[in-house]
Symmetry: C2
DNA sequence: TAAATTTGGTTTATAAAATAAACTAATTTA
DNA sequence: TAAATTAGTTTATTTTATAAACCAAATTTA
C-alpha cells in the first residue's frame, strides 16, 4: 500500500516549515520563526494557531524586554505526526532511504 | 539557505501522486491513475489539466476498445521539476539522504 | 428495441485553505 | 508628542482543492 493520505495539517508549506524548525530547536520565538520562514506575521499567527489547536505545538506567551513574546515548542503528538508525515511522503518521492 | 519555496504545482497531494506514478511508469491511462490515487474523476481531470498547462505532462487522447482513452506521460520538464521538488522538500523533512 | 446502466471523461459549483491587508496595543525614537 | 517600530491578532480576499453535476458514447438488461 504505497500512497497514504498525507496529514493535511503538515502538508502545507508554512506549517511544515514551522514544525521542521521546531523539531530541530525544540523551542522558538515567533520572531525567529517569522525570520526563518519568511512568512508574514498574519499568516504565521494563523498557522501557529492551527498547529496549537491540533495539539502539535504549545504556545506560551510572556513579555521580554517590555515586548510580548510568543514561544513555541513541539509536543510529542506533533513529533509523532511529523515522523509519520516524513515516512508517508517518502513514498510519493520515490525515496527508499531511511531517516 | 535551507527552506526553499516548494513548487506549488507539485505540492499538492494528488498532483504529487500523479507525477510520482508517472515518473515510475513513464506512461499511464487516466483510469489507472484514478485507481491508484483513489481520486474522483473530476478532481483527476482538473489536476491533469494543470500539470499539462505547466508542461509537466503530455496528454494524448485516443480510443481503445471503442472507449475514449486518455494517456499521460511525464515530460522532461516535469521530471526536472519533480527532482527539484524532491531535493527541496528533503530540507523540510530534515533528511540528509540522497536520492 | 427502448430504457437503464456503465465507461470515460469534462465542466461548473462549493468548500476549504492559504495569504494578505487591516487593525490593535504598547514601546521607542526623533 | 507625533511618527515609527515591535509583536503580534483579526478579518477579508484570493487561491486551491474537491465534489457534484453533467455529457456522449457504448453496453447491458428487460
Amino acid at each position: 500500500m504505497p500512497l497514504k493520505e498525507l496529514d493535511p495539517l503538515l502538508h502545507s508549506q508554512l506549517r511544515l516549515a514551522i514544525v521542521s524548525l521546531l523539531v530541530s530547536v525544540e523551542e522558538a520565538e515567533f520572531t525567529y520563526l517569522k525570520a526563518e520562514t519568511n512568512a508574514t506575521a498574519g499568516n504565521l499567527s494563523v498557522q501557529l494557531q492551527k498547529l496549537k489547536e491540533a495539539g502539535y505545538i504549545e504556545i506560551e506567551k510572556s513579555f521580554k524586554d517590555n515586548y510580548p513574546q510568543t514561544m513555541c515548542k513541539i509536543t510529542s503528538k506533533g513529533l509523532k505526526a511529523f515522523d509519520t508525515y516524513v515516512k508517508d511522503i517518502q513514498h510519493y518521492l520515490n525515496l527508499k532511504t531511511k531517516k
